[in-house]
């Protein structure tokens, strides 16, 4: 997990979802954030858009118990690494 990825996740949670900054730690699970399943889905969409990636649905179900922010950041890092070069689509 890169620290900048986690910092971005934190910023989205605090600024857009008004989650208390004190609860946003890498080991915090998604269900500890005080967000319901709908808001969690919206949160995942928001960070996917921020990183311009899609996490495959079979890699992440945000409603599943025990998914930590560190795990989400890891999935984002993998998705970013797998992202084709920006000009590949245009070529």
């Amino acid at each position: 997990m890169s620290s900048s990825t986690f910092a971005t996740l934190s910023a989205v949670l605090v600024e857009q979802f008004h989650v208390d900054a004190g609860t946003v730690r890498p080991e915090a699970t998604l269900d500890q954030l005080g967000l319901d399943s709908l808001a969690l889905m919206e949160f995942v969409f928001a960070v996917e858009d921020r990183f311009e990636v899609r996490i495959p649905e079979d890699r992440l179900d945000p409603r599943q118990a025990g998914v930590t922010l560190a795990h989400l950041a890891q999935l984002l890092d993998e998705a970013v690494a797998a992202r084709p070069p920006r000009n590949a689509a245009a070529a």
């Binding site: 600024e15 857009q16 979802f17 008004h18 005080g34 967000l35 319901d36 709908l38 808001a39 889905m41 919206e42 969409f45 858009d49």
Partner: protein, 423 residues
């Protein structure tokens, strides 16, 4: 003529909250209201591939990002404004969550096009920017989103009802809350309305109806634009669209007394009906029936009313119909009238609530807000229009606010000072 048979009991108003083009506190609202200071300015229409002249708008200074949704889903701007107004009204009323019986609290809310701004943005994202729909698109844009968030905030369990009847929406919401309290279904209500849809597609739709004041040639002249809405004037040419939310805490006299709350004023009369003749053209006879029914509901004669905050949209047919209905009910120049839309714009679903607030501020201040920008009243109108400066009205006891909507819905509310409501 179908009139209520007798007067209903007054319902106390123990708190008000406002987010509006005239400011977000009563102090700023009053200052602009009585000085006739306009919030109207020009806004260009950003619609790719379509050349349209700018439109007059009255935005509210409000940062929607500061408002936390009880549901934690993203908020439409109008819903954020609604939450801010409701919080403020409840705070003034001392109505803290946990301090009342949740089964006896209802939320009654009006909006003409709730969620319109987010819906337009969502469509743009999908069609123009090829972005995805969000999991929360439905709950952010649904027409009952504002009242649902307010109900969540206070844990209301008595009722959560939305009213969509265009420009009469929030007047109807407030009136129906009065009825629910009078009938004993609930003891206390948070009632009002919100609207925020100053987005290119919505604005262009109103412009296409030719009801917005045309400002194209003079859009660079801020003073001309600010004065573009001139209700009841001989040279009137339409309105500006505004955005706002206004909330009231309504409660029965017994409920207010039991918790030691003091009503700032009472709602004494309400009536709603429908013209039933045309989708947009107003019917003076329908308007007159609604005003008379509200007077009966309040137990008042026309001569008891000392101020009328008119619907006054500054369209040619709208003001003509209303001038006729006012003269029918009150007699020629029988009641002082003003339209404050000249400065805060047409607030659509929030209009009835904001204009009721304006009427109650007149009660509190003992003065009547002017109809800004109108210098020469249409000579065919037999109404006593307050123009120029605010007019002193020290013995003012009862004020009426009327809302006449597209679709034919008419709604009229009467507010009364605490002294005046002691029967």
């Amino acid at each position: 003529m179908p009139l209520p048979l007798s007067a209903g009991v007054p319902i106390g108003v123990t708190g008000t909250g406002i987010v509006s083009p005239l400011g977000n506190t009563l102090a700023t609202f009053d200052a602009a209201l009585f000085a006739g200071r306009s919030a109207v300015r020009a806004q260009p229409l950003d619609l790719p591939g379509i050349e349209l002249p700018p439109v007059p708008v009255a935005p509210a200074e409000f940062d929607a990002a500061t408002e936390v949704a009880p549901s934690r889903v993203p908020l439409d701007r109008a819903t954020a404004m609604a939450l801010a107004a409701a919080r403020s009204a409840a705070s003034v009323a001392g109505l803290a969550p946990g301090s009342f019986d949740r089964d006896r609290l209802g939320v009654f809310w009006g909006s003409g096009m709730a969620g319109a701004a987010t819906f337009e943005a969502t469509c743009r994202a999908v069609y123009a920017d090829r972005r995805r729909m969000r999991p929360t698109s439905v709950v952010t844009t649904m027409p009952n989103a504002p009242l649902a968030e307010i109900a969540l905030l206070f844990g209301a369990r008595g009722a959560a009802l939305g009213y969509a009847c265009a420009c009469a929406s929030s007047a109807v919401a407030i009136g129906e809350a009065m009825r629910a309290i009078r009938a004993g279904w609930i003891d206390v209500a948070i009632a009002g309305g919100s609207e925020s849809m100053l987005t290119p597609g919505v604005l262009a739709s109103w412009q296409a109806m030719r009801v917005l004041a045309p400002i194209g040639p003079t859009a660079g002249d801020a003073a001309m634009v600010a004065a573009s809405c001139r209700p009841f004037a001989a040279d009137r040419a339409g309105f500006a669209l505004g955005e706002a939310a206004a909330a009231f805490v309504l409660e029965s006299a017994e409920h207010a007394q039991a918790r030691g709350a003091t009503p700032q004023f009472a709602l004494t009369g309400y009536a709603t009906n429908c013209d039933g003749i045309h989708i947009t053209n107003p019917d003076p006879a329908g308007q007159a029936r609604a005003m008379r029914a509200a007077l009966v509901d309040a137990g008042l004669q026309a001569g008891d009313v000392g101020y009328l905050n008119a619907h006054g949209t500054a369209t040619l047919p709208g003001d003509a119909a209303e001038a006729e209905s006012i003269a029918t009910v009150f007699g020629a120049r029988g009641v002082p009238v003003s339209s404050t839309k000249a400065i805060h714009g047409h607030l659509l679903g929030a209009g009835g609530a904001v204009e009721l607030l304006a009427a109650t501020r007149a009660l509190a201040a003992g003065q009547l807000p002017p109809t800004a920008h109108t210098t020469a009243i249409d000579p065919s109108f037999a109404i006593d229009l307050v123009i120029g400066a605010a007019r002193a009205a020290r013995r003012l006891r009862h004020a009426m606010s009327s809302s006449f909507a597209f679709g034919g819905t008419n709604a009229v509310l009467i507010a009364t000072t605490p002294e005046g409501s002691i029967a």
